[in-house]
Symmetry: C2
Subunit: 837 residues, 2 copies
């Protein structure tokens, strides 16, 4: 076999095997009808690398017809999405509550024997978490973790296909239910963003299969994904507004205001259904907030309490940064320790089981758990913490237990403050450790809970210090520690995620907005502190997982102002010319990696005419060398040789190929002879035709080889090829900053660098990322300066770079800042995803 065949060899072999199987089946029954399916199947095989979006030009006209009914379809899609997600959320909550109840029953039923009780308490979560980890590992490892970092990357424009499959959906939903049912300090919110996105992607595919056309538009799908993120948060907390804002803050860099609607509508609908289900299930009388508080309305807090709230916010900022640091430290420690790492890689389920064992042992209620309200689930703890009574003033017991949950916080020997402090400290590291387990899990809810506990601690302290409140004149307004809990929850979760919309989420969660000012102040201060110390949890995970996300530009690294595109671009661009032969196209396809290839006028002029998608070139090539033309050629060849041909209807039977000599090497080189029987049934015709097709494709006879060589030497006919006439261009002297802004804004994957129309290089996300990281990374993770948002402003949009002309004249002088090649450890597996895709 000549190397020319290496590419098509794969196809022909596959097709050959398939054709034989099909022929065997047809011989039994079947009929001519099936023959066409072979052709469509072969077309599929040839196009198997094609992007579904590449077909878009086919359906453009159809799209335009559909556009009128577009609005309606959008509504329907969003309603469906909201409905499905609300159901998923509600069912999952139900299942989780059931799991947790089962554990309590088991634990409660065995109260005669402490050891049995302990075993029941510990075994249950270990089994659930191990199952969750194992199930996820087997079905879809992409379902592990939060999912927000991945969604951030996907919405940036990088295709991570395996993150949006049905398998991942199943793994995520079931894994998450088990993980949360175990009672570990894990959250539902992050994974829910991922689940909603999965749901949107699958719904799109489903509707595309049903209705076609419109739902195939990939750009539209991206917009739906961003709405789905809002739905995820919205139906998880029944917080539509907070959900929309949180998803914007967490996933976007530049937000198109027109998408705002979509998110609002879908999230509202989803939250509505989610809460209506609770009403129908008789859990609630009407639609109310998830963690409804009952603070007094007339005087929620005194002006003089604001410093306490501010201090709470600053402390939460430090706490949030510490949490992110701790979380990353644990992951990095385990990675560095090679023995641990090897062991864990071999026995993947040992780590989650071990972690669960330790955590559940520590929370065992008759043991250490009695000092940290270990018996409560997250939901119960939060309800208790947001309570509007003052715990420290209730004395020892009297009315403390009218809600059973509050009882857990009161220990006969131990002060409520000690309980709170222990709860905070233990939950802090437990949450940081638990979120590193390879199960679907988020960190938002645990952090939220810790924040609420910390706020409650501060509130109770304030209540002790000012028993009659601070307000001086007139009536007595005692301190409301529950208000501090709300503020603390918002501040800590805001600090960990680097968002301010947690403020809105708490209002929607608690159903009260009276503490708006303290919450806003604390959240802003917590963000200011946390952002100056650590990246957000999601950015940290992006770095840990080495996802292909474009980092933001750092401040204070002014050398980057001098980096220009010419310093980072790849000069060895793969291109094809107008006069290229098919052979050249084939070679380019086999060597390059980028999704699109440049089309230049000629190798001399190098003037960029446009870009062609890889899949387009593949189909050009397959058209030229495909089975149809092969058969055509063979038929003509056979006709020329005077062999008898048999035509029946539209089908051309190629027979008597045994007149040709057998080829020298390939594995299955039997040549069969068929003599034509004009009285055959159509089924038999089908079988024969099929087998002969398989033979022709399978056996690269010398004539065929020769014919292929000829075909490859022909110049490419671009007439049926779709070309993008306006690929994105930069000039060599475009600064890194401008490039970064344009890539972020337009969500580019790559851009061509031209010099007075001539193609001189190409810059992809990969080069850009390396250039940015090369000068920012200090200790493995980019450290963001105080309120990063404030700092980026001046730099990122500096569009008008003025430079002196004499520099323009001697353009190809020595580069001002020759860049070192980036270290090979950057060549992560994931890097390839967005380059090959």
């Amino acid at each position: 076999l000549s190397p020319v065949f290496s590419m098509y060899g794969r196809y022909t072999q596959e097709l050959g095997v398939y054709a034989k199987e099909e022929a065997a089946r047809l011989r039994d029954g079947g009929g001519l009808r099936r023959v066409t399916s072979v052709r469509s199947r072969s077309a599929e095989l040839l196009e198997y690398e094609k992007d579904p979006c590449a077909k878009c030009h086919v359906c453009t006209s159809r799209c335009q017809k559909f556009l009128i009914s577009r609005v309606g379809e959008d509504w329907i899609f969003l309603i469906l999405l909201g409905l499905v997600m609300a159901l998923v959320s509600w069912v999952m909550d139900y299942a989780i509550a059931f799991c947790q109840q089962a554990q309590k029953w088991m634990y409660g039923g065995l109260d005669s024997n402490m050891l049995l009780q302990y075993l029941a308490w510990v075994t249950y979560p270990v089994v659930l978490i191990t199952f969750s980890a194992g199930f996820t590992q087997i079905l879809s490892p992409q379902a592990v973790g939060s999912g927000i970092p991945e969604m951030k990357t996907i919405l940036r424009g990088v295709v991570l296909k395996e993150y949006l499959t049905f398998k991942t959906f199943v793994a995520k939903v079931i894994g998450l239910t088990c993980a949360l049912g175990s009672g570990m300090p894990l959250g539902k919110e992050g994974p829910f963003v991922h689940v909603a996105s999965l749901c949107a992607a699958l719904l799109s595919k489903f509707l595309a299969a049903l209705f076609g056309g419109l739902y195939k538009n990939e750009l539209r799908n991206t917009e739906m994904l961003s709405a789905a993120c809002a739905v995820g948060v919205g139906c998880c907390f029944a917080a539509p507004i907070g959900g929309v804002l949180f998803s914007i803050e967490v996933t976007s860099t530049f937000f198109a205001v027109r998408n705002y609607w979509r998110g609002f509508f879908a999230a509202t609908f989803s939250a509505f259904i989610f809460r209506v289900l609770a009403v129908w299930n008789q859990d609630e009388e009407t639609i109310t907030a998830l963690f409804k508080t009952r603070f007094r309305l007339d005087f929620p807090f005194d002006l003089q309490e604001l410093p306490a709230f501010a201090i709470l916010g600053i402390a939460c900022g430090f706490g949030g940064a510490l949490f992110v640091y701790l979380n990353r430290l644990i992951v990095e420690c385990m990675r560095k320790q090679k023995t641990i790492n090897k062991f864990l890689l071999r026995k993947r389920l040992v780590y989650p089981a071990m972690v669960t064992l330790i955590i559940s042992t520590l929370t065992f209620p008759p043991g250490f758990g009695q000092f940290m309200a270990g018996q409560l689930t997250q939901h119960e703890s939060l309800v208790a913490l947001l309570d509007n009574r003052t715990w420290c003033r209730q004395g020892v017991a009297e009315e403390f237990d009218y809600i059973s949950h509050s009882h857990a916080w009161k220990h006969p020997q131990v002060n409520v403050f000690i309980t709170l402090i222990l709860f905070i400290v233990m939950k802090f590291w437990m949450s940081a450790v638990a979120t590193t387990m390879p199960v679907p899990c988020g960190a938002f809810m645990p952090v939220f809970l810790i924040g609420a506990a910390f706020g409650r601690l501060v509130g109770e302290t304030m209540a002790i210090m000012f028993p009659d409140g601070i307000h001086a004149d007139g009536s007595v307004y005692p301190i409301v520690p529950g208000g501090y809990a709300v503020v603390g929850a918002a501040a800590l979760s805001g600090a960990v995620t680097h968002t301010v919309s947690t403020a809105v989420i708490v209002f929607e969660l608690t159903g009260q907005i009276s503490h708006i000012l303290p919450v806003m102040i604390a959240v802003i201060l917590a963000n200011a502190v946390a952002q100056s110390l650590q990246p957000s949890l999601y950015d940290s995970i992006i770095r840990i997982k080495k996802l292909p996300y474009l980092p933001e530009l750092g401040m204070g690294h002014h050398e980057k102002y001098n980096i220009r595109v010419e310093d980072i671009m790849v000069r060895d661009v793969r291109y094809i010319t107008l006069s290229s032969s098919y052979r050249e196209v084939q070679e380019v396809l086999m060597t390059g990696q980028l999704k699109t290839l440049a089309l230049v006028e000629s190798t001399d002029s190098m003037i960029l005419l446009g870009s062609i998608e890889r899949s387009q070139l593949q189909s050009l090539l397959s058209l030229q060398l495909g089975p149809t033309r092969r058969l055509d050629h063979l038929r003509r060849h056979a006709q020329d040789n005077g062999t008898h041909t048999h035509t029946l209807g539209a089908h051309t039977h190629l027979t008597s190929l045994d007149t040709m000599d057998s080829p020298p090497s390939p594995p299955c080189t039997h040549t069969h002879s068929y003599t034509s029987n004009s009285s055959n049934t159509s089924a038999r015709h089908g079988v024969r035709f099929l087998v002969s097709v398989a033979e022709v494709i399978l056996n690269p006879l010398p004539q065929i080889a020769e014919w292929e060589e000829q075909q490859l030497d022909e110049p490419v006919d671009f007439n049926n090829c779709k070309i993008d006439p306006a690929p994105f261009q930069l000039v060599e002297r475009t600064s890194l900053h401008k490039t970064h802004t344009i890539f972020s804004l337009l969500g580019l994957d790559h851009a061509y660098v031209t010099s007075t129309g001539r193609l001189v290089g190409v810059v992809s996300l990969r080069e850009l990322r390396k250039a940015i990281e090369g000068s920012v990374t200090v200790t493995g993770v980019k450290v963001r300066p105080p309120l990063a948002s404030f700092r980026d402003s001046g730099n990122t949009t500096s569009v008008s770079e003025v430079t002196e002309l004499h520099k323009l004249w001697n353009r190809h002088r020595g580069l001002s800042l020759p860049r070192e090649p980036t270290p090979p450890d950057m060549e992560d597996q994931l890097d390839l995803v967005f380059l090959c895709e």
Copy 2:
């Protein structure tokens, strides 16, 4: 004079006049010190068209030093802005309350005589409104109206300088106070966005004058402006979150998430100070919401009430669209009626006075006003409407008057329903008319009020229909009509402004979030209806005022898919080449309009090298022909001629110019002779020098003329000229959609169209706007289709236009869609602003 002088003639004459005046003053006193001021003044004159931002390259290095302390300065700026705006808002509220109280006193004190009472009631607002209109007209006509449309345009990147001056600030603040103090149905919110932006712009200028460097960065100022918009809404309603979201929705197309912070921080701080001032002033005990409601928390509404809320939302959608239509109709009617128009243009104060007279007559409490709660201010009406009692069930009077405001709604003879309906109908058209008056005013608050009244009406109806509430099982929960008022207010204001963030604003205004679901549902439905019928009020005003804003692309006009850049671009591009002479530069400067000029390699190749700012070229030209070089030349000329020169210190005296013959034509062609007296005092030296400089510049002597001709023929030296090496480029086949997206995203003013590196045209905002409007405008105002946001999605981001190559080959074929020239009435005065600027 040769035509060459026409450009510099202006300068020289101005300078000559100035120099003579200065010389006269110097002769009296003054001294040598003043001489330098002449030079700086002349430099000013020569640079008078320069953009302040063009100097940016000078301060880049300084900027970089400042960048470290950048974050701190941002904080300080935002705190200052928040503080100032809170103070302005509070003082204005105080003044308005005082005005309204004064009217009530006057009205109340005259209750003996109905006629006097009527005169007092009517005269007071007429005087205030007339003063407001007159004051604004004289000081700054730009202060008229809402200001949000202008801010939308400015944030889009179009410079409307006169909208951000100190004069406008004063006019807006004082005009607004008077307008609102008159008690007309006008709002504070829109103008406050403008006031906050003015405040930010002035603060920037002030800080730039104090500290320089950083505060001159114009890009940063734009970001600060977008934060200022949030502050404006935030401190007007004490609604920081709603303020941020509303300002984003109203002013942005693509929002940079990093700006989110800035807005949040500034708006929170501002709202905080605004409410703290109320506490300090003993108006409130602590910080609470502006219109605090006291609805019950445990069961705010029943699930079965949701259809009523939905219907309310849909009705508000129709109402909102009607309001926008009515408002525009009034403006257009008056414009079309030429006699009215002429009359109103001559007597500008008649219209507002007339409108005020009619409105205040109708609201006169003893007259028709008694049936529509005419005696209440907007604030009082809103407090009454959001009341948590049910009006219809209170019977005739009993406890109805424990808040005095509610009394106004109850008429002895007339049902409360009639009062509400009259209130809604009358206020509806009154607000629509009042907002067309040429005073600073917004429409948000009046619309909000009407919405609340409509909601109250629906709520009261529901309360009548279901006296014991709808809830079936267990306890009785009566309907809360106040909740309907909240929902109606949010829905109607949302419908008029096309925003959903009004939902958040009502939560913050009322301090209760219990009705979140009905509010969200109603707002979304109202938006869906309103958007399908009319543009938003702000877009409508943009069209009425013909502001240079880039409209959004419409749906269902598929012909626009076929419009490409080549169809709309200006082919006659002004450019300069590397070998251009100064004369060519001068000619290009005198003919072109765009802010920047293209630099191409040569007229033959037309390869685009970059773009140069107009101001850069002007300074190049002035360097070449400026006074320094003129004097230099003359001095050398004089030296060569052997005339005696006189050197004293650094000053070169040019005297005895009388040896030259006088020029033929110019108006002031007297040549004076000065003989040198070496014993003169320095003051006299100064005078003489000055006069001689003036002479030299003033009199284009033949030698000078000849010299100038020579100078103009020299090739331009670009060495000291800042060139943008990467101006934005499009290709001819870029679609209108892509162009629109790129212009919107990057805030471009113009883009060059290149064909394989060669400059073939230029597209500016103007062409783009005309192309879009050309195919969308039907009845003067673009009609937005249902939920416009939904529709734009698929189209706007269609980046990958694939086309067939054979079209690429015969590129210069006949254009597929030749566009007609746009009608001359589009050539509005304002159009020029963004082209010349």
